[in-house]
């Protein structure tokens, strides 16, 4: 039953068969198997070895005594990391029911030495080892996976899947089971150790593994021969010291290889020239959740809580389990009686019998709990799974355990970036075009994500360029505590920030927070976190029924999209999500605009404007990408729907028309038609006023539009004249809000136009071919006046050499005022002069313009004064009246 092809003469003693043969006592186990753990304890009690050798990194030998510490509570893990590179790390998790843990505790209780004998972490974590990164997922499942340390970072995962065999799966399949876990449960875990021979289970398992390894060799676990060679050497060393009083606890997969006779020379040769790294080890707390497969660490077991129960329950495991479940459900206010427990135990037993299993396993008990106690529902069952099957057990580690690696990584980054933690507050300017500065910025952003507020971003003085950042730095002692706390997120700042961002994204309650997080991920350069954040974002957006939330989220998202471009990040995922978000808004917006009251309508107008701006940027950002070209087109379609639908409040409809008009999507005539519709006598005056507010109100430069398109102005004028006196008081505040926001100059012009009366209107109609409100032919004299400035702006040099530099700098206002024909674009030019004009000129011009409108305006103002309902905010109009 010992090895097949022996390698050379046999210097090693042993090669014993089942039972306690000569040679070291080899106890093949399944990592995290409670049955194995129990068997190991029984075997150790029976054999009473003088030294216990355990599969694990030998650098941890010094840490073994900590396991006896009162404050040490499993589950814990041995963490090994490369000293200069904390990101390169590996965990060996141990639970209460892990055979290795049982062996350590047994050794400590009996005053026996315990040693780790696996390949040193110095080799497994060495950078060049097999060219792959021995990241966390590698060695984690080494001690924790099924019988063989499946991970070990040997071949890349994809290749591994094809090559490696899972010995348990093979054995289970041979036994006719489809699920290796279940097979193992049936043949090992559910059998108490045989009272007569504590070594029997190990002998049987060894036999099975031996034939497996004869058939499969190393089964694709390429690193195993090296590790096993090292283990053999260590075992030999122990044997020299303690003769055969040596017990070895290792994965059952390795037992045949350790039993094999190999020469010291051959083993040494295998170990020659292994790369080495400087590593450090410590104990870290672990949780049941991270032991379970669902956590993504791939530690290998589905049900740590159930295994813990099997390990600790003295007898009647199923009855005890059902009672536990019943208690949990009762605590959550579910009526579960003893009768339920009885029926559940019966059902589980009958199910096991029907499925031909010796004892009800987790599957049977779960099925029974679901059918009897949970009324078929999976909701309480999830609670059972969460609290009991996985269990919320958090390990503890004594304070004397060495420091966490995150601290080291941070210190290293600080040295590298010459960014000293100082208690004094200081400000630094970062130029993101420089590599070091960019790295500093990234580090500070990451720390902020982790809640380590070392740096606070402040508004840059001087330059406002996007490549410049200003930070205020201040290191306070408590930040060290924060760093230690943040250690749970990962071993490096990058990994920790990524994990934290992902967790934050999943936990964020509002859509806008997720968008903000996406922006921060870009700033902190966390490309790995971005997919998760994007996913959450897309999910939230999909499920959020409030178009307002979506509309709020879109602008930030589009901003980050553009910002990502600046930094050269891959933002395709972002663009996809943004496009999806826009799509949802397009679909949801028209129904959401129905039946809104005044305030909600004004809010909705804000959303429409925000989306409009974002869509413009989005269309630019995704230009060229297939399918995205139509974003703008579809948005226009939505705006058209908004403009035409009756149920849409006036302020939103007016805004939609205006946006379409500005984009050139709507002809002036059409806009005028829609305005005429909205202002026709049939509509409520308040609605009409709202429409006007939407169309020309706010900071949209609508005043200039009215100035230049006199047809529109005439429509407003006619409507206003037609408003009945009693309704006028109601629409007055809205109108006032609309028109008072205009620049004084614009107001005056409007007033003059109105005073001129209907003449311009006929004029405009007569012109026909040209823009309404303009003469049919170009006034070349006035047009020429703008040329010098235009050529200066375009950098064409002086066309005539005529205007001096001083001229052109003082000229622009006159130039624009006289020369611009574009109607809306020059609102900005006016602000240059207009901002300084304040209330002193304001009332005057208004009074001016109002007196011209005597027919409509002043009568209205009079009636308003009589009613005396608005006294404070409408004082402007009051003042202008007399």
């Amino acid at each position: 039953m010992s090895a097949g092809p022996g390698a050379g003469p046999p210097p090693a003693p042993g090669a014993g068969a089942g039972g306690r043969g000569p040679g070291p006592l080899l106890l093949g186990v399944r990592h995290h198997g409670p049955g194995s753990a129990r068997a190991v304890r029984a075997a150790l009690d029976a054999a009473a070895p003088r030294v216990v050798l355990i599969e694990g990194p030998p650098e941890a030998d010094a840490l073994v005594p900590l396991a006896a510490d009162k404050e040490m509570r499993p589950p814990v893990a041995l963490l090994a990391h490369v000293t200069d590179e904390p990101g390169r790390s590996a965990f060996w998790p141990l639970a209460e029911f892990s055979p290795e843990w049982v062996a350590i505790r047994w050794a400590l209780e009996h005053g026996v030495e315990a040693r780790f004998i696996d390949l040193p972490a110095a080799h497994t974590l060495a950078p060049e080892s097999e060219g792959t990164d021995p990241g966390q997922d590698g060695p984690v499942d080494a001690p924790a996976g099924a019988v063989p340390p499946a991970g070990d970072s040997a071949p890349p995962p994809d290749e591994a899947a094809a090559v490696r065999i899972d010995p348990l799966a093979v054995l289970a399949e041979t036994a006719g089971y489809d699920d290796p876990e279940r097979w193992w449960e049936d043949v090992v875990e559910h059998r108490g150790p045989a009272a007569d021979d504590p070594f029997a289970p190990f002998a049987v398992l060894e036999e099975a593994m031996t034939s497996l390894r004869e058939a499969y060799g190393d089964g694709g676990h390429k690193r195993d021969p090296v590790r096993e060679a090292y283990m053999r050497l260590r075992i030999r060393a122990a044997q020299r010291e303690f003769a055969d009083d040596v017990a070895v606890v290792c994965g059952a997969w390795h037992v045949p290889a350790l039993r094999r006779r190999a020469t010291v020379g051959a083993d040494r040769a295998l170990l020659k020239g292994l790369p080495k790294a400087k590593v450090q080890l410590t104990w870290v707390p672990w949780t049941h959740r991270r032991l379970s497969r669902a956590s993504g660490y791939g530690a290998g077991i589905d049900s740590p809580g159930w295994y813990g129960h099997l390990f600790s329950a003295p007898d009647r495991p199923v009855e005890r389990w059902m009672t536990k479940v019943a208690r949990l459900l009762r605590d959550e206010d579910r009526g579960v009686s003893s009768a339920h427990v009885i029926e559940a135990v019966r059902l589980a037993g009958t199910l096991a019998a029907m499925r031909g299993r010796p004892l009800p396993g987790l599957t049977e008990t779960t099925d029974a709990v679901r059918a009897v106690m949970c009324e078929g529902s999976d909701v309480p069952l999830d609670l059972v799974r969460d609290r009991l099957v996985v269990g919320e057990v958090l390990g503890e580690v004594p304070e004397s355990a060495p420091a966490v690696p995150l601290q080291r990584d941070l210190a290293q980054a600080q040295r590298r970036l010459r960014l000293k933690p100082e208690p004094l507050e200081r400000e630094i300017e970062l130029d993101l075009r420089k590599e070091t500065d960019a790295a500093r910025s990234t580090l500070l952003h990451r720390l902020r994500l982790l809640g380590i507020a070392w740096g606070e971003p402040v508004v840059s003085r001087g330059s406002t360029g996007t490549f410049r950042e200003t930070w205020r730095l201040r290191w306070e002692p408590e930040l060290s505590v924060r760093v230690a706390e943040a250690g749970v997120w990962g071993t490096t700042v990058l990994a920790a920030a990524t994990a934290r961002a992902e967790a934050d994204a999943v936990g964020a309650p509002a859509l806008a927070e997720v968008t903000a997080l996406a922006e921060r991920c870009l700033l902190a350069e966390l490309p790995d976190a971005l997919p998760v954040v994007m996913r959450v974002l897309a999910d939230r957006a999909a499920l959020d029924t409030d178009v307002g939330h979506l509309a709020q989220a879109l602008p930030a998202l589009v901003r980050s999209l553009r910002y990502g471009d600046v930094r050269g990040t891959d933002t395709r995922a972002l663009a996809g999500v943004a496009a999806g978000l826009a799509e949802r808004i397009f679909v949801g917006l028209p129904p959401a605009c129905a039946a809104l009251d005044g305030d909600a309508a004004v809010e909705m107008r804000g959303h429409v404007e925000a989306v409009h701006g974002a869509v413009g940027l989005l269309a630019e950002a995704t230009e060229g990408a297939a399918g995205a070209g139509g974003v703008r087109g579809r948005w226009h379609a939505v705006l058209r729907v908004l403009a035409a639908r009756d149920t849409v409040p006036g302020v939103v409809a007016g805004r939609a028309v205006r946006l379409l008009l500005d984009e050139g999507e709507l002809a002036q005539e059409e806009a005028a038609r829609l305005m005429g519709l909205a202002l026709s006598p049939g509509t409520e005056p308040a609605d009409g006023a709202a429409w006007i507010e939407g169309f020309v109100g706010g900071g949209s430069g609508g005043g200039m539009l009215l100035v230049h398109d006199e047809r529109l102005l005439a429509l407003v004028d006619t409507w206003l004249t037609g408003v009945p006196a009693e309704a006028f008081t109601d629409v007055l505040p809205l109108l006032r809000r609309t028109f008072s926001a205009y620049e004084p100059g614009v107001r005056r012009t409007l007033g003059e136009l109105v005073r001129r009366g209907p003449a311009p209107r006929t004029n405009a109609e007569a012109t026909g071919s040209g823009l309404p409100g303009f003469a049919p032919d170009l006034d070349t004299g006035r047009a020429d006046a703008v040329l010098p400035l235009l050529s200066l702006l375009l950098g064409l040099g002086d066309p005539d050499g005529e205007p001096g530099t001083t001229d052109t700098e003082t000229d622009p206002h006159t130039g624009t005022v006289t020369g611009t024909h574009s109607g809306t674009g020059d609102g900005d030019a006016h602000t240059g002069t207009g901002t300084d004009n304040d209330a002193h000129t304001g009332p005057g011009t208004r009074a001016d313009s109002d007196s011209t409108r005597a027919d409509s305006g002043s009568t209205g103002a009079d009636s308003h004064r009589d009613s005396d309902s608005h006294s404070d905010s409408e004082d402007d109009l009051v003042r202008m009246a007399p």
């Binding site: 996913r535 029924t545 679909v587 949801g588």
Partner: protein
């Protein structure tokens, strides 16, 4: 003092007619339709059988889930779904607990209960259809008033309910739509399920259930709160929730098979090769129902309808009829689009937005779905 009820004393004209000419029935009972399979299973079943069971629990599970017997007889699967569910259901019946099958409409609750009764007792006709008007007599017993007036109360004047017959004969009784039955009528089941006896106070007698008696109830969990089961009654049931099909392939399989059966029984003209369209319908149903696209990348809002497999079947059947009678004989996107719209948009306001969002965000971008998108746009507009 227990009394047995003679099965022959009950006049079941419908059953007799059905038995005399099973081929004529629009829908034969399970025990007739699959008589050959049941016989083959019974012949080869060597495992222990609970008293009065025609098959062992293992064989009942095989009957429902399908398989091949040692002699090569192929058992067709009656239920496509997790093995676990069928095992728990059968085991429940074997432990003399009553079985409650829960599920949204169209998850084959009645189908499973019928086949379970057929396989366990060889008779699926001991059925009480639960309605808002189900009287207590339907669950306990009624009286033949002519007899009662002529001869006074006696066993001859008693009209036993299906449940009473099942108790007396050790058979499986079925109660459909238990939650639609008024609460006071539901409660009459409590004694039957806990004491396993049905007193007849008028005669000073009782009917005691003999071994083999059990009861399968079905309830629709979308109707929760209509006539919710009292906790006393609930405690007497083991509950099994029948899920919607787990994988798209399963569901396509179910839909295709049922559409084929229904199409044949309704003599619809044969329409070739609709499997792609069926797959599309199933994909749409699943995605909207689960609230996530099949590639797991995009979440979606779920409409208010159940979008069960049964509805998918009717959409496809409908589409087939359209294609055969009015179309070009091939099942096309346009033939199913209207049906899908009707199934999805149950609430005209909210569901329509959800449907449009789905169309724009998912369907439009999908390769090879252009025709479907256009068809849906046409009917949605």
């Amino acid at each position: 003092m227990s009394v047995s009820v003679e099965p022959t004393s009950v006049d079941t004209p419908a059953g007799e007619r059905g038995e005399s000419r099973p081929g004529e029935a629009l829908r034969p009972h399970a025990e007739h339709a699959f008589a050959a399979e049941l016989a083959a299973l019974a012949a080869q079943d060597d495992r222990p059988r609970p008293e009065r069971w025609l098959l062992s629990p293992w064989a009942v599970a095989t009957y429902l889930l399908g398989g091949t017997l040692p002699d090569g007889t192929v058992i067709t699967p009656k239920y496509v779904g997790p093995r676990r569910i069928v095992e728990v259901a059968v085991t429940t019946l074997a432990t003399d607990r009553a079985l409650l099958l829960l599920g949204v409409p169209g998850t084959a609750k009645t189908w499973v209960s019928e086949h379970l009764a057929a396989a366990v007792s060889g008779d699926s006709t001991l059925l009480v259809q639960g309605t808002a008007g189900t009287p207590e007599e339907a669950i306990r017993y009624g009286w033949n008033y002519a007899q009662l007036l002529a001869h006074g109360p006696s066993r001859d004047a008693l009209v036993p309910s299906p449940v009473m017959r099942a108790m007396a004969e050790g058979m499986t009784a079925r109660v459909e739509e238990l939650t639609r039955v008024p609460a006071d009528v539901q409660d009459s089941l409590i004694t039957i399920l806990s004491e396993k006896t049905l007193p007849i106070p008028e005669l000073g007698q009782e009917v005691q259930a003999v071994r083999g008696f059990n009861l399968i109830a079905t309830a629709n969990d979308r109707d929760r709160g209509v006539n919710d089961l009292s906790s006393a009654l609930r405690r007497r049931f083991n509950t099994v929730v029948l899920p919607l099909p787990a994988s798209a392939e399963d569901e396509v399989d179910i839909v295709a098979r049922r559409v084929d059966q229904i199409g044949r029984s309704l003599d619809l003209p044969a329409v070739p090769d609709g499997i792609d369209e069926i797959r599309r319908v199933v994909t749409v149903f699943r995605e909207l129902r689960d609230g996530i696209t099949s590639d797991g990348r995009t979440k979606l809002k779920s409409p208010s309808g159940t979008l069960s497999t049964a509805e998918a079947i009717s959409v496809v059947t409908n589409g087939l009829a359209l294609a055969a009678h009015f179309g070009d004989g091939v099942l096309r996107a346009g033939d199913v689009a209207a049906g899908i719209l009707g199934a999805v948009v149950r609430d005209p306001a909210a569901d329509r937005v959800i449907w449009q969002e789905y169309l724009e965000a998912v369907v439009r971008e999908r390769d090879g779905w252009k025709d479907f998108y256009r068809a849906c746009r046409e009917v949605s507009a």
